[in-house]
């Protein structure tokens, strides 16, 4: 039992594994294992479109995972691996789409909308502060109305008193 424990412990110290859907992808260091896990999460399965390569049970996702592993063992960089798959399956396989002509709207529309909203809020707030002073004519009218009202209330109180 002790021996078994020692063996399994030494196994873990020697290498790290990425386990995806029961498949074992052994790596000789944690950095590569981490890279593999991140790539498998960032790449999208073309068959079952709401899943990434780490989630999907589709056979094609398994093939793509194996290819990612193979290319990593060959020593290719993350960018090279993503480019390899994009060249064959299209930009579709990226959950993180590149900034290019047909994705400008996707990338910048939210910012533009926030900007428009900000401009509107500022202009509305400013509009509220800038109340125009009354013109002479309006002042006269106001005075007249106030006088009439005063008169009215005086009359009312007199009526109540009598």
């Amino acid at each position: 039992m002790k021996l078994l424990f020692a063996i399994s412990l030494s196994l873990f110290s020697l290498s790290s594994f990425a386990v995806v859907n029961g498949h074992l992808y052994p790596f000789d260091n944690d950095v590569d294992k981490e890279r593999f896990d991140i790539l498998a999460e960032d790449l999208r399965c073309p068959k079952c479109q709401n899943q990434n390569l780490a989630d999907s049970y589709a056979p094609v996702a398994g093939d793509m995972r194996d290819k990612v592993y193979e290319l990593m063992i060959e020593g290719q960089s993350d960018d090279e691996i993503v480019t390899y798959l994009v060249d064959r399956y299209g930009d579709f396989v990226r959950y993180n789409p590149p900034v290019q002509e047909n994705t400008f709207f996707l990338w910048f529309a939210p910012g533009v909308m926030v900007l428009i909203a900000l401009i509107m809020i500022i202009s509305l707030a400013r509009g509220r502060k800038e109340t125009q002073p009354l013109s002479e004519e309006e002042k006269a009218k106001l005075a007249e109305l106030q006088a009439a009202r005063k008169q009215q209330s005086v009359e009312k109180s007199e009526k109540r008193d009598s």
Partner: protein
């Protein structure tokens, strides 16, 4: 304050609703655009299903052809098989890629249901399929005489689908310039 400003959110809402609304239904989730269109057929060295002879991409040249990815485990492939037989009888050149399948089972299939293929490339591990960006059989690539991929169809071929691609196929016989395919293959 300008009162018309108050209408800006409404206007933005209406514009976006029209824009996004028109996009719904236009996207066909089953058909992803292939980045391989206009590119040469990928390199490969694989065996022929029938004779175990070695085949490479240079065998896919000469006369325009359909390269059909199929498998015996794929029900839709069975559905389209009869139509492929019809096309072959009309003189359309069809090459098969037997995708992630067993050669012996493929031979039985071809004996039982007829063989529309000039020859079949054996791709048991799906390696060529990966090079082609295959994600679900059946898929059909339209390859011209120079070995350039001009169009791709995902799903079964039938008369209705064939009508759509017929113009491209006819063009592949006479045209070789990429510009000739720009409007057709999109």
């Amino acid at each position: 304050m300008n009162r018309t400003m108050l209408f800006i959110p409404l206007i933005i809402f209406v514009v976006m609703a029209i824009f996004l609304g028109s996009g719904i239904g236009r996207e066909n989730k089953d058909v992803l655009p292939s980045p391989l269109i206009g590119k040469p057929f990928p390199q490969f060295i694989l065996q022929q299903v029938e004779t175990e002879k070695q085949l490479t991409q240079s065998d896919l040249q000469g006369k325009p052809m359909l390269v059909n990815v199929w498998a015996t485990w794929c029900p839709t492939c069975k559905a389209e098989h009869e139509f492929l037989n019809t096309l072959a009888a009309q003189g359309v050149r069809i090459i098969g890629i037997n995708y992630k399948d067993d050669d012996d089972e493929a031979k039985v299939w071809l004996r039982d249901y007829g063989n529309p293929y000039e020859f079949n490339i054996s791709d048991p591990k799906g390696k060529l399929g990966l090079e082609l960006g295959v994600y679900g059989a059946p898929e059909t690539f339209f390859v011209d005489g120079d070995g350039i991929i001009r169009a791709k169809h995902v799903g079964d071929l039938n008369l209705r689908v064939w009508q759509k691609y017929k113009a491209i196929f006819e063009k592949m016989k006479t045209h070789t310039e990429a510009a000739d395919f720009n409007e057709g293959s999109k």
